[in-house]
């Protein structure tokens, strides 16, 4: 049974998706979706010990061994992201029923949950797959389902935003496919570890170099790495609140996961001069993303858009850590994926709950809501502190590791340090603006809405998880360290 966990990780949500479509009372469909998502989370947790250390768990589908059969592969890196995805989905669903019910017509909720499960299955599939083409297919399943989720809300501005996302996302995925095709032409295989063994004997490197370019640009589009982030702010701000919470926690990070997995497995050790190209390409983009994201977040006046811009900046931190191509840099990047998913998920769930009372997405409609709903506002505050990186939170730890990784650099460390510190100050500014709006104005007199108690409790629980993992970071830290080992060990 345990050996079948990798395939169950995908199959369970995927098979439940069409089933949920048929369930009519929305409450029941929600309960079933939540149960499926919790099961996926439980599977991910059970995979932790199986994939620990250097040993990756290999699952040949249908008993056909690679390279002829299709493989699933779970190692520490995969487990870390499996936990992020399934955890985000489960907790957002737990806290999100009322919020989703207020935004989506009840008769259509079962369709919505079907798409949710497909998105979940696609994202999980990307992470367990060891086959470059299967990653493409799962990426498209996840993307198509998330377009549906984003367009499912009442806000008409979501429609042009999601159309833009569809165009850019498809171009990104197609670029990735071109890259995979070029690699297939040169090696005749699609299994990532099999490609890695065959690449060194490829004489002409030019097609592989072109493939590296297509794959990096395609995935950068999907990951919203500056300046390819244009789809992200509007999509996140106009999507239904709980969809924003789910997608902000995991969707861009999964593209970064694929980028790292493929780049470190295939290109770092096999292309001459790739290390330098990788750094020179990504470090400036990461710095610009960090600064531009924080700057735009300071200026925007839509509550969700502020934190959508902040996501652009946070993706920049993850890329910056990864682009240092050192063990400490990668560890910092992976740990930051985890802490950012936790903090941003909490933040958007919190905003979603307050939006049950706020009349619009404008910052001004949130005025005084912190006084009316102190518990939710406390959770938002904790998530915000973790985003800024205040000591004691998970966000502090990953930022601290990032700074340490930067200090290991022989040159250029000062410039990067300035970028990180400056952007942290800027994030204090936009967070303070939001918290000031929540707490300082008097609570609105009319329209008393009581927030659902269960949802508020869940929100507080995940907010305190940010503090817990800041003080006792053993689990994510071990996974991130092992994953960095695995990534860098490919070439050896």
């Amino acid at each position: 049974m345990l050996s079948h966990l990798p395939i169950l990780q995908i199959v369970v949500p995927m098979l439940m998706a069409p089933f949920v479509l048929l369930i009519q009372p929305a409450r029941l469909a929600w309960a079933l979706t939540l149960a499926t998502s919790t099961l996926a989370f439980a599977i991910a947790i059970n995979l932790i010990p199986l994939a620990a250390g250097d040993s990756a768990m290999i699952y040949p589908i249908g008993g056909w061994d690679a390279p002829y059969g299709i493989e699933l592969k779970v190692d520490s890196l995969s487990v870390l992201f499996l936990l992020i995805i399934s955890g985000a989905s489960t907790f957002v669903l737990l806290a999100g029923y009322q919020s989703l019910g207020s935004e989506i017509h009840e008769a259509k909720l079962n369709w919505f949950f079907g798409a949710w499960l497909l998105a979940l299955a696609g994202l999980l599939g990307i992470v367990v797959s060891a086959d470059a083409f299967n990653i493409f297919v799962f990426m498209e399943i996840a993307s198509l389902a998330s377009y549906i989720l984003i367009a499912g809300g009442p806000n008409r501005q979501a429609l042009p935003a999601v159309f833009k996302y569809l165009i850019m996302g498809t171009i990104g995925a197609t670029f990735y496919l071109i890259g995979v095709g070029l690699i297939y032409i040169m090696t005749g295989t699609l299994n990532i570890s099999d490609i890695a063994t065959k690449l060194p004997s490829v004489v002409d490197q030019t097609p592989i170099l072109v493939a590296a370019g297509f794959i990096s640009i395609g995935l950068a589009l999907k990951a919203a790495i500056f300046p390819m982030h244009a789809w992200l702010p509007n999509t996140y701000s106009f999507a239904p609140n709980m969809v924003t919470a789910f997608l902000a926690a995991c969707s861009t990070k999964i593209a970064i996961y694929v980028l790292l997995r493929i780049d470190f497995a295939l290109f770092q050790s096999n292309l001459t001069g790739h290390l330098l190209q990788f750094k020179v390409f990504l470090i400036p983009l990461a710095c610009m993303a960090i600064l531009a994201g924080a700057y735009m977040a300071m200026r925007d006046s839509l509550a969700k858009k502020i934190f959508a811009w902040s996501s652009v900046g946070q993706v920049g931190y993850i890329i910056l850590g990864a682009a240092l191509v050192s063990h400490s840099g990668l560890t910092a990047a992976l740990l930051h994926s985890f802490s950012h998913a936790l903090a941003k998920g909490t933040m958007f769930i919190g905003i979603g709950l307050l939006a049950l009372q706020a009349k619009s997405g404008e910052l001004s409609s949130f005025a005084g809501l912190g006084r009316r709903h102190p518990l939710a506002a406390i959770a938002i505050t904790i998530a915000g502190l973790s985003l800024v990186g205040i000591p004691g939170t998970a966000g502090f730890l990953s930022k601290w590791l990032l700074i340490q990784a930067i200090l290991e650099l022989p040159t250029g460390a000062v410039a990067l340090l300035v970028v990180v510190l400056l952007s942290s100050l800027m994030s204090v500014v936009y967070l303070a603006r939001f918290l000031e709006t929540l707490f300082f104005p008097p609570a609105p007199a009319e329209g008393k809405v009581t927030l659902p108690l269960g949802a508020t409790a869940i929100l507080l629980a995940i907010a305190f998880a940010s503090i817990y993992f800041g003080l006792a970071p053993t689990l994510p830290m071990e996974l991130a360290t092992q994953a960095a080992d695995n990534l860098l060990g490919y070439g050896a």
Binding site: F133, L159, P160, L166, I171, L177
Partner: protein, 119 residues
């Protein structure tokens, strides 16, 4: 002659660029979606083109002979999947365009933007 030998790659690049240009330059959302379809189809052609082995037959054997030359069936299978993905993308895109038309009364990008700014 070397250019002509590679004509299937040139076709791929030409179609790809035509599709890409349409996606970027056109104002009409349906045209942009069609450009996206063209863009994807170009990649399908790339895969199908590389599957052909000179002098190769269909990879179906009644009695297996080792020396028989046959075309690679795998890229075609891959592209079958990719075509399904492409069709789903187009269908979803058209559905979104329909909703945009209902909500904004137009499918021209600039008109949608100007209406957004008025609101």
């Amino acid at each position: 002659m070397i250019v002509l030998d590679l004509f299937h790659y040139w076709t791929f690049i030409a179609l790809l660029m035509m599709g890409f240009y349409t996606v970027i330059a056109k104002n009409n959302l349906v045209k942009r979606l069609l450009g996206l379809s063209l863009f994807q189809s170009a990649v399908f052609l790339l895969f199908i083109g590389i599957a052909k082995v000179e002098g190769g037959t269909t990879p179906i054997f009644t009695n297996l002979v080792d020396t028989q030359v046959f075309s690679n069936p795998l890229p075609q299978v891959l592209i079958l999947t990719a075509i399904v993905v492409g069709i789903s993308t187009s269908a979803l895109g058209l559905a979104i365009i329909l909703r945009i038309k209902e909500a904004y009364g137009t499918i021209e990008e600039d008109e949608i933007q100007s209406e957004e700014e008025e609101a």
